[in-house]
């Protein structure tokens, strides 16, 4: 099966931002422009995260999603501050295909059942921010690694899987923005723990990093900083993966009618 190459856009107010280990955010440009660029370069999916939404208790991305959805025709996942069915609906109604939930679900796990029962598990992604513990294992954090939930990552994903989550986005806080590859032990532990697709995020910046993650059972990878800084292009990444035997979707934009 082809690994999905997901372009991840972390957004604060109207700016694309990126930090290291979820801190020290720098502005990286206009999120809608970047989303269009990644679509044109063959992103298999777009992932938008409003990184201050839980803080301000609202997701700010409705306008950006609605705008990009008029001319980017790949799946879109949107996260940040989704704490109710209404908040999920507002995003699904303007072109999001899935919502990614984190903070609110850690406080009230039944939110997962509500969204899954109403919109289907295919529309529900659980976003987990995982931080390695000195004693071993990983703890689940929220709000970009600021707040502890007291939940063990593996226990949390196992519980969430029983509540109808269709996919897991696992971001390693330790690896975020570092560019040295995913936390492979974390990836392995999660793919072993759940039987739905897993997206690896945090630190992936090369074809080799993608290959390593695929070998640990992930269905998709989310890449942010390496794309935003133009250190890596989706076109080159896809070619390199195909050349070295990792299955990816063949892509050629020129076939599109209407472009």
């Amino acid at each position: 099966m082809s690994v999905r190459l997901i372009a991840r856009l972390d957004i604060k107010m109207s700016n694309l931002i990126k930090g290291v280990q979820m801190e020290g955010w720098r502005k990286m440009g206009d999120p809608a422009d970047r989303a269009r660029k990644y679509y044109a370069e063959g992103a298999d999916e777009l992932l938008y995260m409003d990184v201050v939404a839980s803080l301000y208790e609202r997701n700010n991305l409705v306008d950006i999603v609605r705008d990009v959805a008029t001319d980017a025709f790949v799946p879109m996942t949107v996260g940040g501050g989704i704490d109710s069915l209404e908040a999920a609906k507002a995003l699904l109604d303007v072109g999001a295909d899935k919502v990614a939930v984190n903070t609110a679900a850690t406080k009230r796990p039944s939110l997962l059942n509500e969204i899954s029962d109403t919109y289907g598990s295919q529309a529900l992604v659980l976003s987990v921010e995982a931080k390695a513990l000195p004693s071993g294992g990983w703890t689940a954090m929220t709000d970009n690694g600021r707040n502890h939930t007291g939940r063990d990552v593996l226990a949390w994903v196992e519980e969430a899987a029983t509540r109808g989550v269709g996919e897991f986005l696992i971001t390693s806080i330790d690896r975020d923005g570092v560019g040295r590859g995913a936390d492979l032990d974390l990836v392995s532990a999660v793919t072993d723990a759940v039987d739905v697709p897993v997206i690896a995020a945090g630190g992936l910046a090369s074809a080799e990093h993608v290959r390593e993650a695929v070998a640990r059972g992930v269905s998709a990878v989310a890449i942010a900083k390496a794309l935003h800084t133009d250190a890596l292009s989706l076109i080159d990444l896809r070619q390199e993966l195909a050349r070295t035997g990792t299955s990816v979707r063949p892509f050629a934009m020129e076939e599109a009618p209407g472009v």
Binding site: F73, V74, G95, G166, D195
Partner: protein, 214 residues
């Protein structure tokens, strides 16, 4: 360009389907009005989520009979994802539920075990390669599935047509054959999401909208 109506029945991805149709130059009419649907040159039935809630919404608006009447005109009809599964006789998702019964067969869960005995991740969320079967003959469908094509799938259940001549195109997942497209006369259904399948998906929609026949 002829008119295309998109059935509005309160289920999911209509926004994306209409956006994709506009991108290829069509002017989609999003409606649940029986007169408007019956007057359209072609109709698309979208849908995401659960089979039973989609079917009950169709019945609530009496759209099951409107769809049957439209199809009887012989004009082209396209079901997408749940809109494709609804074409079948029944689904086993969350109990046994009747569908529109336009194509004989059942909608069943994708096996959670691959054919090599390993666990298989369900839902099937992937860009998967689609191939035509021997049943593919002519029409806009033949112009679309004219080789290995990749489309975006996201589903836990799949249609199993009883009659092999209704199975138009297939993908593979975990060694299993996944129904990608079905067709009976002027009724076509696709499991994947053309509105989310990039240039390939737009190409399919363009072929459907510009087709001279069903």
């Amino acid at each position: 360009m002829s008119s295309v109506a998109v059935v509005d029945y309160g289920i999911g991805n209509v926004f994306s389907v209409c956006n994709a149709l506009r991108k290829i130059g069509a002017e989609p009419l999003l409606t649940r009005d029986p007169g408007a649907l019956l007057a359209a040159d072609r109709v698309i039935l979208p849908g995401v989520g659960a089979f039973s809630s989609a079917m009950s919404n169709l019945r609530r608006y009496a759209l099951d009979t409107v769809i049957a009447d439209f199809i009887a005109t012989g004009r082209p009809f396209l079901g997408v994802c749940i809109g494709m599964q609804l074409l079948m006789e029944r689904s086993t998702e969350f109990g046994l539920h009747d569908g529109l019964g336009l194509i004989r067969g059942t909608v069943d869960r994708i096996p959670a075990v691959a054919d090599d005995g390993h666990p298989l991740r369900v839902p099937h969320i992937a860009w998967s390669e689609v191939h035509a079967t021997d049943a593919l003959q002519g029409g806009w469908q033949a112009a679309t599935f004219d080789g290995a094509r990749h489309y975006y799938f996201v589903h836990s259940y799949m249609a199993r047509p009883d009659d092999p001549s209704h199975l138009l195109a297939v993908a593979r997942y975990g060694g299993h054959q996944i129904t990608a497209a079905v067709r009976k006369e002027n009724v076509t259904g696709v499991q994947f999401h053309p509105e989310r399948s990039g240039p390939e998906g737009l190409r399919l929609l363009s072929n459907f909208v510009n087709a001279s026949g069903g």
